[in-house]
Symmetry: C2
């Protein structure tokens, strides 16, 4: 295992300390590093709290800040956070507007967030994200997995909360965004969880896992490595076939951590051409490592339908460690 | 070779097409993809032009836009751009204020930019960046290599140009930033140039290359993999020993492409603690994949001295594909 770490069991804590030191203007750590919270809260605004296993950085802690999340609860690598983390986070960031939990659809996350939702004193609602069209159920999920579309839900709902939308409406908006969002990924290599010390799965030198999950869960099939255009055709075909909509969309090409930018933009180019064949036009674009699987090589493609309201909230300024833009032209 | 590509000789062109499509509000491609240029030029502002071999994305094309570069000339992967590219770029973006070329110190780049500087009709000056303290000369360089510090020169000088600074003063500022900037990197794995089809170098399962160059050039020594704290101690020690300054600095922990965010923030945490021992305080921070070597695993640490003027220009809003922030709090 070749990693820039000191000890497997210290990776998350030391990385969180680095995050907090690098972005002290934006965020701060909760006691015992139970959560990462926005430094400057807005009184009365519903608080958005997400979380999940580490190893998907910058999701979620990198999205804490103005216009997005109020807190993120990191579990150990690929391990759900525990309910006490979400309860502590809610207590720290609920300023009277209640709490919206945004949860990726994995059994551990769903269960632990549900327990927190029952036990917290905060009025709260939950949005479940399940955008992965690759498989109908998976190793850690009943129903579809929540993957890179989570970023889009967090951005849009985060902007709406900042603009004054109330808790019930935020939940409805989040569910509407999720309903219009589909993703699918492909892995060229595995990743290695520090505590495990060996790759989560193995792929032959000429193989790829089509439809892989963000914890290395199996996808649809293991096939020979194919050209980028062919990969894009299959993924976009799966997404468009399931989405059954046409019009303007956000196209997110998301790197899993080990694939360089030059390939991600090449995949973006391949994906946008495929989208046109399905009557989908790229209205907004995002390319980079946002919902990763440690150092896994590969990427996912996410398509999220746009309307005027969603476009407005997507374009709103955001100031977090990982997603950062001012007033867009 | 496992890459998301169609054909090795089409990688750069298809990736540039993706970049241009994803960021059409910011940038546009020159004829024959000779350069990437800022879409909206400012009349009379000195134009900043950089460039170099591809494979280091987002450097340089990802830094084209408001507050940073006016154009970037990409060569093939790890190959210098040719003089006609810089001449065409200068012709496209010089709006009367002259041109400042920002060049990483590699023989091919320096020679080709010098030829362009002679042949272009634009009044022009050049800043050479040579921030890498690892070795005094290298495979492709006479004198020190230019690496991740280039980003800092481009950001600071870009902001100064936007604020109205004239060409001569911009060159002086760029040289002042370079003089206060030091970097050094470490590789845990090699990368594979698409046209070569095999790794640039090989490392044992327990080895790392301390002081590696961004094209995989040899560093100071090949050693056993060490804990992050020990790596940070050696790199920061080399930087501080050469820099011989104390005070506030920018700390950039730059991923080479294959190392995940969780490790980069851990390295940031390790590096900032080491800096304190040398009387260097982190006044500004940047962590991410900015000056990469395709999918190489590893990172570099860059320290750049701050003063009021440099801090002001660092903080100025920037709107590019890869570096993007509004008014900072």
């Amino acid at each position: 295992m070749k990693k820039l770490i000191n000890a497997p069991d210290a990776v998350l804590a030391e990385s969180l300390d680095g995050l907090a030191a690098a972005h002290a203007d934006i965020l701060t750590l909760g006691d015992e590093r139970k959560f990462v919270r926005r430094r400057h809260l807005i009184t009365g605004k519903p608080a958005l709290i997400s979380g999940g296993g580490a190893g998907h950085e910058p999701l979620h802690a990198g999205f804490v800040g103005s216009g997005m999340l109020d807190a993120a609860c990191p579990g150990q690598v690929f391990t759900s956070p525990t309910p006490d983390q979400m309860i502590a986070a809610a207590s720290a960031v609920d300023t009277g507007g209640g709490v919206l939990f945004i949860v990726k659809n994995y059994e551990g996350d769903v269960m632990n967030f549900a327990m927190a939702a029952e036990m917290t004193d905060s009025r709260n609602l939950t949005v479940i994200v399940d955008d992965d069209v690759a498989v109908e159920k998976s190793t850690f999920s009943t129903g579809r997995r929540g993957v890179a579309g989570t970023l889009i839900v967090e951005k849009v709902v985060g902007a709406a909360a900042e603009a004054g939308m109330a808790l019930d409406a935020l939940k409805a908006l989040g569910e509407r965004v999720n309903a219009g969002t589909r993703s699918m990924g492909v892995a060229l290599t595995s990743c290695t969880v520090p505590a495990a010390g060996k790759p989560t799965f193995t792929l032959g030198e000429d193989e790829m896992e089509m439809g892989v999950g963000i914890h290395g869960e199996p996808g649809r099939r293991r096939v020979k490595l194919a050209p980028a255009d062919q990969i894009a055709e299959e993924i976009v075909g799966a997404i468009a076939g399931d989405l059954k909509q046409t019009g303007d969309c956000i196209l997110l090409v998301n790197g899993f951590g080990g694939t360089p930018s030059i390939e991600l933009y090449l995949m973006f180019n391949a994906a946008r051409k495929q989208l046109e064949k399905h009557g989908l036009r790229v209205g907004r674009a995002l390319v980079g490592n946002y919902v990763t699987s440690l150092e896994m090589a590969g990427c996912s493609i996410t398509v999220s339908m746009l309307d005027d309201e969603i476009a407005k909230f997507w374009d709103t300024p955001v100031h977090t460690a990982a997603l950062n833009w001012g007033q867009r032209s």
